[in-house]
Each structure stands twice: as structure tokens, then as C-alpha cells.
Amino acid sequence: MRIITGGELLLSVLADCGIKQVFSIAGEQLGTVYDAFGKFPEINLTVPRSETSAALMASGYSASTGYASVSMATVGAGVVYEVAGLSKAWFNYLPVISIAPQLQSWKIKPHQENLQGCNQDEIFYPITKWNSIIYSWERIPQIVYRAFREALQGIQGPVHIDIPSDVLFRYKILTEKKRRKIMPPAEKTMYRGNIKGDPFFLKKACDAIKESERPVITLGQGFGRPGRYQEIKQDLNRLGIPVITTTISSGALCGEDNCYAGDISLFISAASGLELLKRTDLLLVIGMDPYSEHALSIIKDSPNLKGVIQIEIDPSSFKDNITNLCPVHSDPHSSLSYFERELKWNETDLSTWRDDFNKNCDLLALELSKELKNLDELFDSLKDISSCNDIFIVDGRELSLAASCFLRKAVYKNLFIMDDRDLPGAGLPFALGAVIGNPNDNVVLISDKDSLFHHIRELQSAVSIGLEFTIICVDDISNNNVADSSLVLQSMGCNVKEVDRLSIKRDDIFKTKKNIPNAFILKSKSNSPN
């Protein structure tokens, strides 16, 4: 029997759900939560220098570890800062649990000119999968478990919970009996098995693949970086069908995956790319809207295309406006391993088509590389020295395109390309989340100066916490920025080295200085303000 506050109950449910990392800035209404942190040594609290960064770090942590993470911000002012950060998790389908206190339950909905009061749950509504307000102390576990279910099941995404401060401050006696009643074991609150799929549709899909001569797989968010990423990677390699990554899964496969053809950006940038795509006769779409990508929407009218097989974990997402041969409602691992088992392909069955397709992709990459001439040296050196322990995060419009072109053949653990359409400058806090989630790996952030400056304050967080990672700042494509990036990064506490050309050894880049960010500034053109 214990007397516990709502804040402590919240942390105990988070701990039960396996949360190891919370990103948050304190606030008065979070008083009892912060007071209880000491009782949960398994939960690590990281305090960034803005709530926007808290949500972005949580996104980076989730994306790179596969676990859900928690971002907490205080009522009103804190929460409105968090919105932009959480939008990254929304656009990237990442299971970030956003928790915020609200004012006293008798003062909200509607607000009467309260200090910091606004209907914050409704601000989050368009950019979260689900959100809710917890009005009662007893319902904290039930609703938090539900938040985890909503974030992790089906198509993943962020969720938001508001908890009025009186619910967080209230203390009650938690007897063993009451605990059993309101807090079932976390493992019983969520389905953790496979979704195997309907055998009829699986067989139909299998037959279609068997008949196909030129199949191509496109990966979407359902490929699931958070979750069973490695298993699916192996399945794809064993299946041997050429795989194209899309904006959201870009960098999920690397040079050592023989099935990896390249990123969708290769096909968009050249007319020959679309022609190459149009040669395919069967499109296997894993966890994505087949026509959300421009290039794929063009090939739907190709005379060669006999049909599309959509593998999707969420049945509400099947599209009826495509030649959907069979909607396979299953998780990617289950259906891919089924295909592999049933097809019993020899290594040679698809190798001619795959090698031909991949060779053409090489040519596309070569074509694109000519347009990105100024960046080839940087990425070529990285390609040569990268290893399977490296996590690359690339931020900046031109750099992103270059990374998907030049790092195609590189070996890495993970590559995250910050989509320019999401949130500019998310790279730095995202990288910090990845560093915290993967302490044994080398994290390298490659960013242009403009993007790096968006959240440059977080370098100070990295220095304060003692996070070791590498920043490569390309100082030649920034827009109208008069600051000297070397001086700025140095003043923030980074170990800075200016380089004219980046032909570097692995030891230079990864073993420079311990426990602080190591920054390399690559200056190739003058950056006078325009």
C-alpha cells in the first residue's frame, strides 16, 4: 500500500510500458511528475533547451531505436513550442507519446482567460493519431496504455495526452487490490503477435509474383523502422526482388543489401528514371500509399504494369483506385516470409532482372551525381569509411538528394534523410535523440549551415550532457547567413575543425575528442550574404 500522486502513477505506468527515455522541460504543473522521477531510475530524463527539440529528440530516439518515446511539455507555452517538433513524428509515422499537463480540470474547456490556457488538445488533433484528456486519477493507466496502443498499432504515429494539474497533484492510496484493478500488466494491454494475413490473398499475391518477370518492391513507412526492421531487411534480401525506398524509408537499406536498387529520388530527377520504372510489371507496395510519391503515380498508366499488390497492416488504408490485385492485410514480415517460403526461388530466378535494374539505377545515380558535383567528394569519402555501426542523419535539401545518390553503395546501420517538406532543421535535435538511443554507435550529422542553425542551441544540450557525435557542416549552400559557423560551433562548446576538402580517415572523424560533439566545417565556396 502506498500513497502516490498522479504524477508518480503516470511515471509508474510509463515504466511498465518500457519507457526508458523522457525528453522534457519542467513546468509548474509538472511538479509532481518531476518530484517522482527519482523513484524511477530506469527512466532517463533529458532536458533540452526548447520543447520543440524535446519532441524532435523523441522522434530521433524512436526512429533509431524502434521504441516509443515520451516528450513532455508544460501547459500552454510549453505545449505550443512542442507542436512543430511533434509534427516531425506525424510526418514520419513515429510513435512519440506527447504528454502535457493542463490547468485545473474545473478551469478548462472552455478557458476563461486563464494564464497559459488554451484548448491544447485540439491544436494537436490534426497532427496526432489520437489524443485525449485524463480527467480522473484512476484512469491514468487505462488511457496511457491506450495511448501506447494507438501510437504503436497499425500505421504508427504520435499521440497526445492532456492531464489536468489537479489529476497530477492528487494523491491517493494505491493498495495492491486497487493496483491490480486499475493497472493490468503492460504486456497484456497490447497485442504483440504477428498479423499473418488471409491465406487466400497471400496465395493470390504469391501466384502474381510467380508469374511476374519484372517485379519491384517499394517501401513506405510500414516497413517500420520502429519495430521489426532487421527481420524485414533480411526477408527482402532473401526474396531478391529489387527494392526502392521512398521519402519516408529512405536510407533503410544500404549498400550491403543486394536487393537495394536506390531511392525514389533517383527516378524523379531524370526522365530515364521514369522509363526504367515503367518497365516493371508488378509493384509490391509495402506499407505506403502507392501514389503518394509522384514517380509512382506516373507509372500507374504504364502498359507494362499488370497490377499492384498492397501489403498493409491497417485495413482501412487499402486504396480502391488502383489495380490492386490483392490487398494483403498482414504485417510485412509475415507476408514476405510467406512469399519466400512459397516461391522457393533460386538465386538465379530474378537475378537477371535485378542486376539489370540495379545497373540502370547506377547509371541514374551517375547522371544525378554530375548535377551535385560539389558534394561528391564529401560523400565519396564517407562511403569509403562508413561501417555497420554508423548512423547517418542528413539535413538540407541538396544534401538529402546527394546522400540518396552517393550513399547508395555505402554500408551503415541506418541513414535518416530529413525530408525538406517536413520541418526544416530537424536534423540536429533528431541526431541527439539518436545518440541518446544508440550510445554504442557512431552518429554522424551531415547538415547544411542553414538547417543546422534552426536548432543550434541544442549543441549546448549535447555539450552539457556530454554526448559524443560528429557534425559535418557544409558551409557553401546557406542562404543569406553572415555568421561564421566555425566560431559559432566553437562558442557552443564543440570541437571544431575546418576542412577544405573532406578526404578523411575514419579515425579522424570518429576518434577526435570524447564526450563533446566533433564538428567539421566544410567550406568550399565563399558565403557572402546575397
Binding site: I25, A26, G27, E28, G31, Y34, D35, F37, V47, S50, T52, G76, A77, V80, V83, A84, S87, K88, F91, Q104, Q112, E113, L115, Q116, C118, E122, I123, P126, I127, K129, I155, G157, D166, F169, D289, S292, S317, R421, D422, L423, P424, G425, A426, F453, H454, H455, I456, R457, Q460, S464, N480, N481, A483, D484, L487, V488, L489, S491, M492, P529
Partner: protein
Amino acid sequence: MESVSGNELIAKSLVTNGISYVFTASSDRLTPLISCLKSKTGINVIIARNEGAATVMADGYIRRSGRFSAILTDDNGRSLSQIYGVANAWADKIPLISLSICNDDEADYNKGFNRYKFDQNGVFHEITIWRSRVNSIESLSDTLKKGVYESTRHKRGPIHIDIPFGLLDKTIAIDNTLFSESDFATKSKIRSVRLAGDELEIDKAVSSIKSAKKPLIFCGGGVIASEAHDDVICFMEEFKIPAATTMAGFGTIPIDHNYSLGGPAYTTGEAFHVAINDADLVIALGVSFCGVDGFGLPPLWSDKIKFIHVDIDPLQIGLNVSPEISIIGDVKTVINQLSAKLRGEGFISKPAWRSWAKYLSNLKKGRYKRLNKAINKDWPIIHQGKAMQELGKVIKRDDLLLVMDGGNTPVFVAMYTPPMGPRQSFYPFGMAAIGCGIPYAIGVQLASPGRRVILITGDGSFLYHVQELETIRRLNLPISIIIFNDSAWNMIRAMQYSMFAGNIVGTSLPDIDYSKIAKGFGLHATRVTKVEDILPAYENSIHSSGAALIDIITDKDNFPDCLLSFSLVEFDGLMRLLNPVKLIKSSFLILGLGRDRTFLLLSYIKKALFRINIIAKLRS
């Protein structure tokens, strides 16, 4: 008739609606529109490093200048980066024009696949007073005009318009004569609607004022919006009525005025508490009775007060207080109606009012004496109040443009503020968002060419928008940044100290030399650790040609005493839920802060809070 593109039409519409400044952040898709704004109109385009900062700059510009300005961003995350800036404007009723590019497709409310088809306009729903999505190029200029109109309707506030990307390149034939200056917004100022009060209500108000024994004027942000401060000062001087201001009305009555109670709301201390307990009539001018002012309700306010509530927005009447007399009208017009009526009836003032004002004035003097005595003790680490006091010595009151930022820092600034007028101090009171200081300072400076802006910020809040130091340097703006560096998120730390028995979690910050960071951005910067170095550092900074930063090491164990009043409202109903053992431990910790600090807190409790019989009210 002239054929123009969507980009040109937006530029023309913005000019027509009196917008002279557009704030934005760099984005490839906006480049044609930005170059169109620059080349074809006289609009100043300011490019910030980040969309959120650009929004706050636009807000700061409006607060200082009283003119319109717009924020322009690209779609998705770039648009959502505006949220905190727009929320500040919404909470403080600032007519900010927010424009975003959006997806050409309508939002798909089935929250499935394509997350770029989200409801962008919906995110702004709760923090704007009007929003719309332009559906066709034909309706573009009308929507912008309507948006600008809506932003100044009744209670002012931000509006948001989404413009589909595809419309920017479309062309339309327009009649140029339609694009003349509009009626309600001119390039000079946002025009106030001079709504007169109902004569019947004015009569009632006058008789109520005449019969009052202890009247009090309470000025809110509405006085600034209506530019009625001179009229209010004339009114209070003529009839000898004391006046307090809300947080939003900071500066409407200079603190050194004989009838002023001091700084805004509860930072005034005992004079404010006594006034809102003993007054029998409060003339509330453009006040929203928000949480930070105690709602006009118990426990801070007496429930025996009669209110005359003057506001332009009928929806504000009866929201928190239930006034005896309510007058819908523009503050400037109504206050002149009231004084004309009183004068017309031959009413001068009452001797009792003069002694009531004198009594409150003495309380104010007593508090300032006590506060000044406390800061002039021999503290080993600089007291925030001392740093503020020194500022008053180097800058003339009319030259002062003060931006505040942080948690405890703005409270210290308000407690030790030098006297100044309206539109000279800036802080987002409604949201009390920390971290907006640097962009506010930029916006305020752009609205006051040639004048120096002083930003006083905390160390936690300083880094939020540190990237905008680049903007300050690029535009070469004369801004002096003063950091009260106490190595803590100190408002929250104070709470952990005083309510959770000193269990300090997540509120300590390392000792960072912020002057080094500022130097990295190319600013003049210095670090101050001794009291005697403050004044020379201020002088150097104020007389420097561009931006300068002073990092002052301050004492984290100083808590503003008036936070106790604030806590009574903020933690209304929560105090009784706190662990009593921790509260007892906390009080011992406070005693451990030293005799001088304890004395200050105890005198505040005795002189200000004891008046409202705190224990009885907590029990109830």
C-alpha cells in the same frame, strides 16, 4: 485591367491592406513571392533563421508600432513552426496576419496514409480568431482583406490564411483601381474603432463613481490598443483616483506617478493587494480579468467590489467578474465621455479619495524602500534587482524600450522597473512563453528605427532563439541583450524548493558563458560577476554601434516575493493536495536561505497576503 500572377496579387493585397513589414524564413518555394514583395512593393521583407522566430518578430513589430505586419511561411512543419508565435499573439490579442502556403489538395481527414494531407488550418483553430483557406485566385484578395478586417474586430487577435501553392503561379486580370488603400487599415496605424458608450450606462457609471468611497482605476491592454493612456492619466489626475495596471497594461500609468500603485498587477505588492481588497468600486478599462491578474475574483480580490467594466468586446463582459455597470465602447471615447459628464455635473473630487490615494501611494513607497534596501545589501552574488536598478541610471525613461523574457526574470524586471510609458515594455503576458525575447527585440527595434532596444532575459530562455543573433548581426540592429544568468530554470526550481522539499530535478543548468556564444555570432559581449562592473558594462553596451550582450551572473536563491500571490491563483485548489511533510521541510529550507531573504518573504506575507486572510481562504 492588368494581368497579374498569384504572387503579384498577394503583394498588391498586402500593400492595400496597410502591411509594411513581412517576416519570413528562407524557403525555395517562397522565393518568387519574396522577390515580388521586394521588387514590386515597398514592403520590407525580413528573413529570420526560423519560421517561429519570424512570427514572434512580426508580433513584436505590431506591439511596438501599432501597425500591421504579416508572417509568411511555407507549408507543413514550416507553417506549424508559427504556432507558438501565433499563440502568444492570440493570448495577448495582437492582430497578427499569418499566411501559409498549403497543399493544393484539400485535407484528407481519414488519418491514414498520406500525412501531408493533414488539416493545416485546423491546427490554428484554437489560437486564432479567424482562419480561412483560399479556394481560388479570384477570392485571394478578398480573403486577405477579410482576414485583416477580422483581426481588428472587437477583441483583436491573430488570423491565419492558407494559400494553396498552385495559386501562386496562376494569373488573373484585375482592376487596379480596386487596390487602393482600404478604409480600416492604413499604412500609418491600425485604426481604433472609436465606439462611444451608451449614455444610459455612462449616467449609471457617473452616479456610481460619485457615490464611491474608495474607487480604483484598473488599466488593461485595451488602454494601449485604444491609445487612451493620456486620457486616463488626465481622468485620474482630475478626479484624484488611484490606478493600477494589469500585466498587459504595463506602462499605461508610469510607476512614479502619484496616483499609480507601482508595477503591473501583483508585482506592486501590498498597495495592489490592499487596493483590490479595500476598494468599493473598480473602473476596469480594457481589462480581460485574466489569470495573471487574479481573475478579479477571490482569493486575491475582494468579493465586495463593484465593477464598472469598459470594453470594446461584449464577449468580455461577465466572463470572470460580473460588473454592476458595463459599457461597450472604445476606452478613449468612454473615458472622455465619463470625464465630460462628471465635469458637466460640476463634480470635482472627494477629500476621502485623496487620502485613499495617498494611503496607497505610501504603501507603494514603503515597498520600494524595502525592496531597494534589500538589494543594496552586500550580496556575494549579484542580485537581479540591483542589476535592474543600475539600468535605470544609464538610460533616459523616454529612450527606454524594454523587452522581457524568462520565468522569474520578467517578474524581477516588473518589480524593479524604471518608470516608462506605454508601448515601451514588451512581454507575452497571456501565454507567458519563455524564449521569445530575441525575436521580440528584433521586431520592436524594426518598429523603432534608430533607437536601442534593451532585452532582459534569463539564461534558460536566452538559448531558445539564439540562432537569431545572426539576424541581429546581419541587419546590424542596436539591441543590448542582458542575461540574468543564475544557472537554473529558476521559476520552476523555486517551486521545487518551496513545495517539494528542495527535490531539484531537471531545473539546474550548467554554468555557461553566454558572452562566449554571443562573440561566436560576432556580437560585442562581456561577462559581469561584480556589482561595480555592471554600470560600465551597461554604458559600453548602450553606446556601442550595434548589438551587444552582457552576461550577468546572478543569484539563483533570490525568488521574487510576489510570486506568492501568483501561486495562489496558479495553484488554486492544488495547495491542499500537496504533501504536508514536504511543505514543512520546504519552509525550513526557505528559512535556510538567510535572514534577509526570509525577512523579505515574511514582510510580503504580512503586508500583502495577510490582508486577504490567506489561511481562512485556503481552508474554504
